[in-house]
């Protein structure tokens, strides 16, 4: 970095020790750095939720000793939570709320209480299958999935809708 030493050049006079940095080039460099970083910055972070659709590609899984969850989301404010073990229903619960946020909180609470119970500790939940109707939007489905993933249930699947149900979703227009 360039520096300029000020002071008199005349003979006999002491040279000043005041030094000034040449800040102009330094500011230029910083401005260029800021411009480059602002232009290349990623402002929206796109992530993903992993879903396994084994329908049609794999054979039936062996009967496991872990619990499995069936979620039937009938609307953005109601769902039915069914916990199974080896094909037998262990717990069935109907959840109703005023909004999808509240429903997600209620589901989270129900899952936390099951996971912390002796039965849940003995055989953790391994997978969850979600069935939704045409009136449930994709954003609301992701919220429900979020509640499951927060409770370490990461093996998620979505039951494919039939043609008529999907057509009803299209004709219903935008949900939000």
């Amino acid at each position: 970095m360039a520096g300029a030493v000020g002071g008199a050049s005349g003979s006999g006079r002491r040279k000043s020790l005041d030094a000034e940095l040449n800040l102009v080039s330094f500011i230029d460099l910083l401005s260029m750095c800021i411009c480059f970083l602002l232009m290349t910055a990623v402002w929206i972070e796109v992530g993903s939720l992993q879903v396994k659709q084994s329908h049609g590609t794999e054979g039936p899984a062996a009967v496991s000793q872990s619990h499995e969850i069936d979620l039937a989301v009938s609307s953005s404010t109601t769902l039915e939570l069914t916990i199974k073990k080896g094909g037998k229903v262990v717990q069935k619960q109907q959840l109703k709320a005023a909004s999808v946020e509240e429903l997600s909180t209620q589901l989270n609470g129900a899952l936390v209480s099951f996971v912390s119970s002796p039965a849940g500790k003995a055989a953790p939940v391994s997978a969850a299958m979600i069935t939704s109707t045409a009136s449930v939007s994709y954003g609301e489905l992701i919220r429900i999935m979020d509640a499951l993933r927060r409770n370490q249930i990461v093996n998620l699947g979505v039951v494919p809708a039939n043609r008529d149900l999907a057509m009803a979703g299209i004709s219903g227009g935008s949900r939000k």
């Binding site: 005041d18 993903s48 879903v51 396994k52 049609g56 939704s132 045409a134």
Partner: protein
């Protein structure tokens, strides 16, 4: 005003300004404005440090399709490089290419199946002796019906795309 070395001599610029102000003080009041360069450089440095911390060297894998607003999720993971199937009310796009109208493809999914099959064949040709991972990224609009998305998700395994990544915006409250 030409402020070259001839005018300034060996003096620094700030000294020159002070002496000029002193000389002119008796005649009229002169206001000399100076930039506070130190604080400006401090601010610039902090900005550069902040932007460097947020700087991502990984390439932007997902180009969000037009007309698609991704839902937010608090439990999202890093998006892997995979073919992108974009689902919106208007149409279906596979790797940024228009495949067909959503309503038509729900009824007759053959064009989508053909495109998926050709994608798989291209991958298998370019990666001999490797098993097909079957990964696909699904970008769907948050307002679209979940039945539409699940219908398309149900079609994917028939072409060996069984590992589906649902694209979301990270950092949501969930």
């Amino acid at each position: 005003m030409n402020l070259n070395a001839q005018h300034l001599g060996n003096r620094t610029f700030s000294r020159h300004l002070v002496s000029r102000q002193y000389q002119q003080k008796k005649r009229k009041r002169v206001i000399i404005m100076g930039l506070m360069l130190t604080s400006m450089v401090d601010m610039f440095s902090l900005l550069v440090i902040f932007l460097l911390q947020n700087f991502s060297t990984s390439p932007e894998l997902a180009v969000v399709a037009k007309g698609v607003t991704l839902p937010a999720s608090a439990t999202s993971r890093e998006l892997k490089d995979a073919p992108v199937l974009a689902i919106s009310e208007a149409g279906i796009y596979l790797d940024q290419k228009f495949v067909g109208l959503t309503e038509e493809l729900l009824d007759q999914p053959a064009p989508l199946m053909e495109k998926l099959q050709s994608l798989r064949e291209v991958w298998e040709k370019s990666h001999p002796n490797q098993s097909f991972p079957g990964e696909i990224s699904v970008q769907a609009d948050q307002a679209i019906s979940s039945a539409v998305v699940s219908r398309f998700m149900g079609m994917l395994p028939s072409q060996a795309f069984g590992s589906i990544q649902l694209a979301v915006v990270g950092g949501g409250r969930g």
